[in-house]
């Protein structure tokens, strides 16, 4: 069974008096453990597709299934549970909670899940160690570099042991070296933990690391290349 099954989805936005067709009839199937890059120019629909897969947005037509569940049929609370338990998110601007330390940010998903405080703290510490942030657990985001903040964001995304991590331009705000290190980290997590990673990116380094590159232009998939 595919981890992600996208069937003929369309997403149209109303912008003033005219409609913007962000996605038009997209079909996509992604299996467990894949490392997929969605590429394409700005406005091609990469982020929209990522949002629809993550249950952050609803399609105008078609359906998205995660592990066989049609997520467009889920209630708001059930979607929140799905995002909390099965999906991790990494954003371009890190988007950490500024008032929480690195370890508190990393354990946030487990807090929302209601896990035991000691268990969640141990898991968050272990994850921070895995992303190379040992010794910086108690620092607030403002006390960390961009690369370190993005590592905390990755730690937050994987601490809950999701099946899928969706990353929207995760290297866009990082310098080349830091970006490469982050990609290597995520690739390692993908291989070690069999977590599926789906990127929306312009970054050629992500493309080089990916084992599948899906290209979008004007809301449609124009190529789907496996390596």
């Amino acid at each position: 069974m595919a981890l992600i099954q996208v069937t003929d989805i369309a997403r149209t936005y109303q912008q003033g008096s005219h409609e913007v067709h962000a996605l038009r009839g997209v079909d996509l199937q992604i299996g467990p453990g894949e490392f997929v890059a969605l590429m394409g120019p700005s406005g091609s629909g990469k982020t929209t597709l990522l949002n629809l897969i993550g249950g952050l947005d609803s399609p105008t037509a078609g359906k998205v299934e995660i592990e066989g569940t049609d997520i467009s049929a889920l209630s708001g609370n059930a979607l929140s549970d799905l995002r909390r338990d099965r999906v991790g998110f990494v954003f371009q601007a890190y988007n950490l909670v500024p008032v929480l330390s690195a370890v508190e940010n990393a354990e946030m998903v487990l807090v929302l899940r209601g896990d035991d405080p000691q268990v969640r703290r141990d898991m968050a510490m272990k994850t921070l160690h895995e992303v190379g942030l040992s010794g910086k657990e108690n620092r607030r985001p403002a006390e960390l570099s961009g690369g370190e903040q993005q590592r905390v964001a990755v730690a937050r995304a994987i601490t809950g042991e999701p099946a899928l991590v969706l990353a929207d331009e995760p290297t866009a705000n990082l310098d080349s070296t830091t970006g490469s290190e982050l990609i290597a980290l995520m690739r390692r997590l993908n291989q070690d933990k069999n977590i599926t990673f789906v990127f929306a990116t312009h970054d050629p380094k992500v493309m080089e690391a990916a084992d599948r590159v899906v290209r979008l232009v004007d809301g449609q998939i124009v190529s789907d290349e496996r390596r």
Partner: protein, 407 residues
């Protein structure tokens, strides 16, 4: 963790939080100061009113309260004294007679209102004796105490003779007194109109040897007055007498306190609403500034109701701390006013009269903890209410549009 986040979120913009907390705390402190000042004034009014004009339980002749006819008196007052004393053996039973008449000196005459008292007992419940400026309190049956203004009008001094004239039944009657003491309350209507002599003298003037206008019980524990009134009504069962509580005997004072308290509460409510509007504005700004962050929290699986709870928790933390500080500040500001009083004598004169009660123009606060606690809890909930709309607003956010907002 949510509580931790809420507390830390409040510290993000320290200046704004401090200003908001300051507004709530100051509002709360002002409320408490007002409450305690009012409480002190009411206690003083009740104490003096009950002491000088009534008691916690008042027994009068049937119809006296309604008609005010001075002829309506309790004839067998000694029996009533015994019955009231049985209700509270540690309490004080006082008899009084109120009369109207004319007081004449060798050089002038003036209409007067007499309060005829049992000298020793009346002193114990708080009478005019505390305003004596010259001479002594009533002790003998020929002693009379008058106000300073009346002394000047009649042109008399301590030891001089005056004649009191009044109507007893269909007859005019008079009695000779010697001025024993002069009082000064500062209230012109009291100092120029009220005179005091002994109950026995009044009984002699009227020719009614055991009569009194009222027999009053002053309880050892004033708060027990409702039970005492019930007991008195059960034990004093006569068609010629009526038993009143102090509130019924002093309706003007009770009405004044109720009206003043209502005005005070109205002012306090307006103050509360103004502070709540400030808190609401602060919360709304604070929430709208963090729209993007809320979008991220929603995207990682936080439920809308958890977000709303976070904002409400911020309101609760802000409210609880501010109210505690405000209450402590209010209590601290009240202390000197409870200890040394608030002196308005320069603008209001040395004394004033309200409903026949002489009140000092130096107001003493009195801690009213039950009311302070109730208003503290009310203030806390008002802060929470101010956070409800921002919390609801947050709970309706969608993750994608929220994350598109610029921080």
């Amino acid at each position: 963790m949510l509580l931790k986040m809420a507390s830390r979120n409040l510290l993000r913009n320290r200046r704004r939080t401090l200003i908001t907390m300051g507004a709530i705390a100051l509002g709360m402190a002002l409320m408490d100061v007002t409450i305690c000042l009012q409480h002190g004034a009411y206690q003083d009014t009740i104490r003096k009113g009950v002491g000088a004009l009534a008691g916690h339980v008042v027994v009068q002749a049937e119809g006296y309260e309604a008609t005010g006819e001075r002829d309506r008196m309790v004839e067998q007052s000694s029996e009533i004294v015994a019955k009231l004393q049985a209700i509270d053996p540690e309490g004080l039973v006082v008899r009084r007679t109120f009369l109207g008449g004319l007081l004449t000196s060798p050089s002038n005459s003036a209409p007067v209102a007499v309060s005829a008292v049992e000298p020793a007992n009346s002193q114990l419940v708080g009478a005019m004796d505390e305003y004596l400026i010259d001479g002594e309190w009533v002790s003998g049956e020929r002693d009379i105490v008058i106000g300073e203004k009346l002394r000047d009008n009649l042109d008399v001094e301590i030891g001089k003779k005056v004649v009191f004239m009044t109507q007893a039944g269909d007859e005019m009657t008079s009695r000779l007194f010697r001025v024993k003491g002069i009082f000064k309350t500062g209230a012109a209507d009291q100092d120029g109109f009220i005179v005091l002599f002994s109950l026995k003298a009044a009984q002699a003037v009227l020719g009614r040897p055991d009569a009194a206008t009222q027999v009053t019980l002053h309880l050892n524990s004033p708060d027990d007055w409702p039970e005492a009134v019930d007991q008195a009504r059960a034990s004093i069962d006569g068609s010629d007498t009526e038993v009143l509580s102090w509130k019924e005997a002093l309706p003007d004072i009770d009405a004044f306190i109720k009206a003043d308290r209502a005005i005070g509460q109205g002012m306090i409510s307006i103050l509360g609403i103004i502070v709540a509007m400030g808190v609401f504005n602060t919360f709304l700004m604070s929430v709208l500034e963090r729209t993007r962050e809320f979008g991220v929290l929603l995207s990682i699986g936080m439920k809308p109701r958890q977000l709303a709870r976070l904002v409400l928790l911020e309101g609760a933390v802000l409210g609880a701390i501010s109210i505690l500080i405000g209450t402590a500040l209010g209590a601290a500001l009240t202390w000197p006013m409870a200890e040394y009083g608030l002196d308005f004598s320069e603008s209001m004169g040395e004394g004033m009269s309200s409903g026949g009660v002489v009140m000092s123009t130096v107001f003493y606060s009195s801690y009213n903890w039950p009311r302070m606690i109730v208003f503290g809890i009310g203030g806390f909930f008002l802060t929470l209410i101010a956070a409800i709309w921002p919390a609801w607003k947050v709970s309706t956010m969608e993750p994608v549009p929220a994350m598109r907002q610029q921080q």
